[in-house]
C-alpha cells in the first residue's frame, strides 16, 4: 500500500507539467499562429484605437446608438466582472424592482425591475403604452456581457436612432439587417444583432 504513495506524488507533479504547462503552451502557440485575432479577444478598432471586443457587449446610453440589454456585470458591461442577476422567476425584485433602503446609506439596494424597464423602454422609444416590449430588452443576460440584442428589439429602437442621427429609418433598418448574426449553419442558436458592430457602422455612415 505505502508503495503507492511515491508514484502518487510524482504523478501529480508530472501531470502538472504535462497538462498544466506543456498543454496550454502548445495550445497558445498554435492559436496565436493560426487565429491570432480571435485568440486575443476579437478586438475591434476604430481609427487605430481599440474600442472593445466584438464578443463583449458595452454600454450605450446616447439616443443615437442602439442600446444593449440590461447588465448586472459590475456597473454594467464590466468585462472583469461577468454576472447575471440570478433573480428567480417569481421574485418581486426582478418583476417590480426594489427601492433603495435608506437605512443603509453605503449600499444602493435599488433595482430596476422588468416593469420599470418596460416603462422606460417605451418612453425612450416613444412607444404607446401597452406595446409589448421584446423580452430581451428588459431582461439581463447570463454573462452581463451579451453583445447581442434581438432583431425585434433593434427594430423598435431604429426610429429613435434614426431620429437622433437624422437618418431615414429605412437606412437604419437596412443596417440592422446587415449586422444581424443569423443562426449558425441555419439552425444553431438564435439570430441577434451585434450592438457594437451596428453602432460602429452607424458612426461610419
Amino acid at each position: 500500500m505505502r508503495r503507492q504513495l511515491l508514484p502518487a506524488l510524482i504523478m501529480v507533479l508530472v501531470f502538472t507539467v504535462v497538462t498544466g504547462g506543456i498543454y496550454p503552451l502548445v495550445v497558445t502557440g498554435v492559436s496565436q499562429v493560426l487565429f491570432h485575432d480571435k485568440a486575443n479577444g476579437s478586438l475591434v478598432e476604430r481609427d487605430g484605437q481599440v474600442v472593445g471586443s466584438r464578443l463583449i457587449g458595452q454600454p450605450f446610453t446616447e439616443p443615437g446608438y442602439f442600446h444593449p440589454r440590461p447588465s448586472s456585470a459590475g456597473d454594467g458591461y464590466d468585462g472583469s466582472q461577468s454576472l447575471g442577476s440570478n433573480l428567480g422567476p417569481t421574485n418581486d425584485k426582478l418583476l417590480h424592482g426594489q427601492q433603495d433602503d435608506p437605512s443603509t446609506p453605503d449600499v444602493d439596494e435599488s433595482f430596476e425591475g422588468i416593469e420599470q424597464r418596460v416603462a422606460a423602454y417605451r418612453a425612450e422609444n416613444g412607444l404607446p403604452a401597452g406595446t409589448p416590449v421584446p423580452v430581451d430588452a428588459v431582461t439581463g443576460s447570463a454573462s452581463g456581457l451579451d453583445p447581442h440584442i434581438s432583431v425585434a428589439n433593434a427594430r423598435l429602437q431604429a426610429p429613435r436612432v434614426a431620429a437622433a442621427r437624422g437618418l431615414p429609418v429605412e437606412r437604419v433598418q437596412r443596417l440592422i439587417d446587415e449586422h444581424t448574426d443569423g443562426r449558425d449553419l441555419g439552425f444553431l442558436g438564435e439570430p441577434g444583432v451585434n450592438v457594437l458592430e451596428l453602432n460602429l457602422a452607424l458612426d461610419r455612415l
Binding site: M1, I10, Y23, P24, P89, E190
Partner: protein, 570 residues
C-alpha cells in the same frame, strides 16, 4: 419549440450517435488487456517515460484495495498541491492582475471541488485566481480528476468481465493512458476549434479599452480555450470566467456552443460503448447508452420547452416572450441572445446529466419547473450520461439495483452479466445510494435552520430554498452547476459543500471499486432462458423506473417545497 430548436436537438443526438461508438471503440482498446492500440508509436514512448519517472512497473496488476489506495493517495496529493498553490499565488509568477492569496475556506472548497471533478466555484474566476493557478492548478485537475473517474470505471468493467480474478488493472497505467491517449489529444483538437470561434487563448491581463461612448472597459485575457476544452470533455465545468460558458469569451457563438455541448456529452456517452465492448457484449453497451440517452432527451426537451414557454408573469407586465422570426422569445432573464431558450435548455440538461456543471444560462432565473429540471437531473444520480467514468459507474450501480429487483421477480438469485449480486454487493450499492441523499438533504435541512446560511439567498421563500437545495445537490453529485444567486463563498457553505463533494465522490468511487473487486472474483454463470436479458427495452424501462423512483421518493418532499410550490403559485 421552433423547428430550428428541434433540429438543434436532433443534430446533437445525431453527432453523438455517430461519434460515440467510434470513440467508444478506441477507448475499449486503450483500456483493453491486450492488442495494439492506434497511436502506440506516438504514445508508448511518452507513457514509458512517465512510468519511469514515477517508478511504476506497468505490468503489475493491483487488487481493488491497492487500486483504491492509489486513487486516494493521488487525490490527496492533488488536493494538497492545489490548496497550496491558491494560498501562495501572490508569490508565484503568471499573476498579471496581482491576485492576493485565496481565502482559506474558498481555497479548501476550490481544491476539493476540482479534485473531485465537481468544479463548483464559490469564487469568481477572473477576480480570484491567477493565471498560474488556473493553468497549473485548475486545468491540471480538470484533466486528472476526470481521468480518475474513468480509471475507476475501467476497473469496474474489468471486475464484470473477468472471471475468478483477484486484480483489476493498474491505476497508474490507467491514469497515464487516459490522460495521454484520450484527454490530451481530444482537448487539443477541441481547444483549437474553440479558438477558431473566438474563445481567447493568451497570457494577457485585463486590457483597458475606451469604449465608443468614451467609457473605460476592461477586456479580460487568459489561456481560456485550453482550459475550456478539458472542462467540457472531462465533464468538469469550472469556468475560466465567473459566468462560465455564458461568457462570450468562453462560448462565443452558437456553433461554438454546439461543439462544447457535444464535448460535454461525448466521453461519458462513448464509455457506454466502451463498456459493451469490454464485457464482450456490444448489446449491453447499447442498452446502457439508450437508458442514458432517454433520460437526457426527456430532460433536454423538458428544459427547452419550459424555458421556451417563458415566464407568464413577464407577459403580465408588458414584455413579450412570443417566438417570432425576429426574436427567439421565451424566458430570457439570465440567457444570452445568441443561444436563446432552446440552446440554453439543451445545455442545462446536458450539463446536469453529466457531472459537468458549466452553464451557458443562469439556472437560478429559469422558470420554476425549468429550473427544477437541472436539479432533478442531478438528483437522478448524474447517469445520463454522467461524468467521465463516474456516470457509467453510477449507472451500473443503478443497473445492479434494478437487476436485484428484477432477479427476484423471475425467481433467480439476481445476476448481472453472469455475476451474482449478493449481500456484499448490495451493502456497497446501498452505501452509494444512501450517501448522496444524506449530504443533500442533511446539509440543506441544516442550512435552512441557520439564519446566517439563509441570508446567503439571493431570492426569498421557495425559490431561495431551491437555491440552497440546488447547491447541495450540485455538490453531493459532484456537478458544480449552481442556482448561482446564492452567496456560497461563506465559511459554512464552503465547508459543507466541500464535505458534500468529498462524500459524493468517494462514496461512489470506493464502493464501486469494492464491488469490482468482489465481482471479479466470481465465476460468471452462463445465460439461459431463465436469466432475464439485460439488453432489452423491457430491462431498460425497468432501470429507468428504478432511477426515477429512487430519486423521486427521496426528493419529492424537498422538491415540493421548492420548485413545485413555486410553479403552482405562478
Amino acid at each position: 419549440m421552433s423547428s430550428a430548436s428541434w433540429l438543434q436537438f436532433a443534430v446533437l443526438i445525431g453527432l453523438l450517435l455517430v461519434t460515440a461508438p467510434l470513440l467508444g471503440r478506441y477507448m475499449a482498446k486503450v483500456y483493453g488487456d491486450d492488442g495494439k492500440v492506434p497511436g502506440d508509436r506516438v504514445f508508448l514512448p511518452v507513457e514509458r517515460l512517465i512510468y519511469r519517472l514515477c517508478r511504476v512497473s506497468p505490468h503489475t496488476e493491483q487488487r481493488w484495495t491497492v487500486y483504491a489506495f492509489a486513487v486516494l493517495g493521488f487525490s490527496l496529493f492533488s488536493f494538497l498541491l492545489l490548496y497550496a498553490m491558491q494560498r501562495m499565488q501572490q508569490w508565484l509568477p503568471l499573476n498579471p492582475t496581482d491576485m492576493p492569496a485565496v481565502t482559506d475556506h474558498i481555497a479548501f472548497n476550490a481544491a476539493v471541488s476540482f479534485m473531485t471533478n465537481t468544479n463548483w466555484q464559490s469564487y469568481s474566476g477572473e477576480l480570484t485566481m491567477s493565471h498560474l493557478t488556473q493553468m497549473t492548478g485548475l486545468t491540471v485537475q480538470n484533466f486528472v480528476s476526470a481521468s480518475v473517474g474513468m480509471c475507476v470505471m475501467a476497473a469496474l468493467i474489468r471486475g464484470l468481465a473477468r472471471r475468478r480474478a483477484s486484480t483489476l488493472g493498474n491505476f497508474w497505467v490507467d491514469l497515464t493512458r487516459t490522460v495521454v491517449r484520450i484527454m490530451l489529444p481530444l482537448s487539443f483538437l477541441v481547444a483549437i476549434v474553440l479558438v477558431s470561434q473566438g474563445v481567447i487563448q493568451n497570457f494577457n491581463g485585463h486590457t483597458a479599452v475606451t469604449t465608443v461612448e468614451g467609457a473605460t472597459q476592461l477586456i479580460p485575457g487568459g489561456p481560456a480555450a485550453s482550459q475550456i476544452a478539458i472542462k467540457q470533455l472531462g465533464t468538469n465545468g469550472g469556468g475560466f470566467f465567473n459566468m462560465n460558458s455564458a461568457h462570450p469569451f468562453e462560448n462565443s457563438s452558437p456553433f461554438n456552443n454546439l461543439v462544447e455541448n457535444w464535448a460535454i456529452l461525448i466521453i461519458p456517452s462513448a464509455l457506454a460503448f466502451t463498456f459493451g465492448r469490454m464485457v464482450g457484449d456490444k448489446r449491453q453497451g447499447r442498452a446502457v447508452f439508450a437508458i442514458m440517452a432517454i433520460i437526457w432527451a426527456v430532460m433536454s426537451l423538458a428544459a427547452m420547452g419550459l424555458e421556451g414557454n417563458g415566464n407568464p408573469q413577464l407577459d403580465d407586465i408588458g414584455a413579450t416572450q412570443a417566438v417570432t422570426a425576429e426574436q427567439s422569445g421565451g424566458n430570457m432573464e439570465g440567457k444570452e441572445v445568441r443561444f436563446g431558450s432552446a440552446a440554453s435548455g439543451l445545455w442545462a440538461a446536458s450539463t446536469t446529466g453529466t457531472s459537468n456543471g458549466s452553464v451557458n444560462s443562469m439556472h437560478d432565473s429559469f422558470t420554476p419547473l425549468g429550473g427544477m429540471i437541472p436539479m432533478l437531473h442531478m438528483k437522478l444520480g448524474e447517469v445520463s450520461p454522467g461524468g467521465t467514468g463516474v456516470g457509467l459507474n453510477g449507472m451500473l450501480i443503478m443497473i445492479i439495483l434494478s437487476v436485484f429487483i428484477a432477479g427476484l421477480m423471475v425467481g433467480r438469485t439476481p445476476e448481472y452479466l453472469g455475476k451474482k449480486i449478493e449481500a456484499p454487493e448490495m451493502k456497497l450499492v446501498v452505501l452509494y445510494i444512501l450517501a448522496m441523499p444524506l449530504v443533500v438533504l442533511g446539509f440543506t435541512a441544516a442550512s435552512v435552520l441557520m439564519d446566517s446560511a439563509v441570508a446567503s439567498q439571493n431570492n426569498p421563500g421557495a425559490h431561495g430554498f431551491s437555491e440552497i437545495l440546488y447547491a447541495f445537490t450540485s455538490g453531493g453529485n459532484n456537478n458544480g452547476s449552481a442556482f448561482a444567486g446564492i452567496t456560497a463563498s461563506t465559511w459554512w457553505y464552503d465547508t459543507t459543500i466541500g464535505l458534500a463533494m468529498l462524500i459524493g465522490r468517494f462514496f461512489l468511487i470506493i464502493p464501486v471499486l469494492a464491488i469490482a473487486g468482489s465481482l471479479a472474483r466470481k465465476q460468471p454463470a452462463p445465460a439461459t432462458v431463465g436469466t432475464f436479458p439485460t439488453h432489452t427495452p423491457l430491462f431498460a424501462s425497468l432501470v429507468l423506473g428504478v432511477v426515477a423512483i429512487v430519486a423521486g421518493l427521496t426528493f419529492f418532499p424537498a422538491l415540493a417545497l421548492g420548485p413545485i410550490v413555486e410553479y403552482l403559485s405562478l
